[in-house]
């Protein structure tokens, strides 16, 4: 193969200038690409806005539709909930606020209110820890005897609603125990031992002191302290009607009425 490369010193300057020419062209292309992408994004966002305005009722009523809509928003870099907090500030978040009208904001507010209500109502028996799934079911079911009944929500909605409470410093947050998501409504932190026990509890359903001693090689006193603490916070319930006392997670409890 014959080389068309120039020889001699001249070739060096030539190469540099070619490289810089490529670079200029490249950045030009990049810029125009970016500009056109930006324009496209704006178009999509404005379409999304129109869509949201047109279909707000469906978005509110149908959890599946809402989830798809939220996914679409994330794809174009719009956070459905950031919008609700940025309302009024025209410069930042202006678009977001536009895309998500007051209607949808109200929707997440009412979900959040119900989550807070539910957590308060059940804190005595579950120590302020409730599964996102159970939470979702309870909110969907609504409270018996209350007119208006339930709200059609998905687990994503519950999580989004809990997240929307963050600016209030309410202490509500989503935590994960053994792969399962929970709403934690009490700001009290769990120590490592407590988290470990809760994880095991989540996997097995119930535990005994000797099971902890055996599996974690903990001294008995350590296991007992953790259980006592969890019990004092109503995070476990005891069943004394068995050969060795069994400790259960209170999550089997949410139902009835």
């Amino acid at each position: 193969m014959s080389s068309r490369r120039g020889v001699g010193l001249g070739a060096f300057t030539d190469r540099t200038s070619t490289a810089s020419a490529y670079q200029t062209r490249g950045s030009e292309l990049k810029q125009s690409r970016a500009a056109s992408l930006l324009a496209q994004r704006e178009v999509i966002q404005s379409l999304l806005h129109n869509f949201a305005v047109q279909h707000v009722d469906t978005i509110k009523a149908n959890p599946q539709f809402r989830a798809e809509f939220a996914r679409m928003c994330h794809a174009v870099g719009v956070d459905p909930l950031a919008g609700s907090n940025a309302r009024g500030k025209k410069s930042e978040g202006g678009l977001r606020a536009k895309v998500f009208g007051a209607d949808l904001k109200d929707f997440y507010c009412s979900v959040a209110v119900r989550v807070v209500e539910l957590c308060q109502r059940t804190v005595a028996e579950n120590g302020g820890l409730i599964g996102v799934k159970e939470c979702c079911e309870a909110v969907t079911r609504g409270r018996a005897g209350l007119i208006g009944g339930g709200l059609q929500v998905s687990e994503d909605d519950i999580k989004a609603a809990v997240k929307s409470l963050e600016p209030l410093h309410s202490g509500f947050k989503i935590i994960i125990i053994a792969g399962k998501e929970f709403v934690r409504s009490i700001p009290k932190e769990l120590n490592t031992d407590q988290s470990t026990v809760l994880e095991i509890l989540q996997l097995l359903g119930n535990i005994t002191i000797s099971l902890l001693v055996l599996n974690l090689s903990w001294p008995k006193a350590r296991a007992k302290t953790v259980i006592d603490d969890l019990q004092a916070d109503s995070l476990v319930w005891v069943d004394k009607q068995c050969p060795e006392w069994e400790y259960w997670s209170p999550h089997g409890l949410l139902d009835e009425d």
Binding site: N206, D239, Q241
Partner: protein, 187 residues
Amino acid sequence: MTTLTQNQSDPFKFSEHYTGYPPFFTLQTSASARQAQLKRWSRLIQRYCRHYKIFQISIVDYQDKDLFRNAKLNKKLYPEDIRTVIDFMVSQDGQQRAEWVTSAKASAWIWWRRPEEWATSIAAWVDETGQKGSVLTLYEIVEGDASENQEFHGMDMEVLRKGLAVLAKQNRAQVFGTDDQQGVKFF
């Protein structure tokens, strides 16, 4: 006006926390969990008694019935715990949903409807059926055809008397006659 729709021969349907949650039968030590648990037991007992139209329960007779004993889980609420639950139901916290028959605490009235609530629904029924000013026997109220679809149809006579006593106090009724031949006039 509530009408009686449930068929009493249908067995009472226990909810999941009862059928699938063993610690429910051990009174919890943490104060908040115990309070929540007592409330649940109170609701369960009221719903159960309402379903079967039970007005009074004796601990001895009921401790081994399905209300307090879950054969499948092999768990039961022990008599002293039943007493604690009923004590709670008697209290203000428990919204006075029970009343010990005697201070021996062997049996208790379960007020799934309190006497005042019975009084209200009987008075409303008398009103609706235009029986104001007329005299009815107690038997008629409880067993008569006219009250057939009322919740108080078939109710305990003594509870009825307690309810009517409430109305009498408000000068809305007057009870007369002797024990098994009592009548009542409404005004």
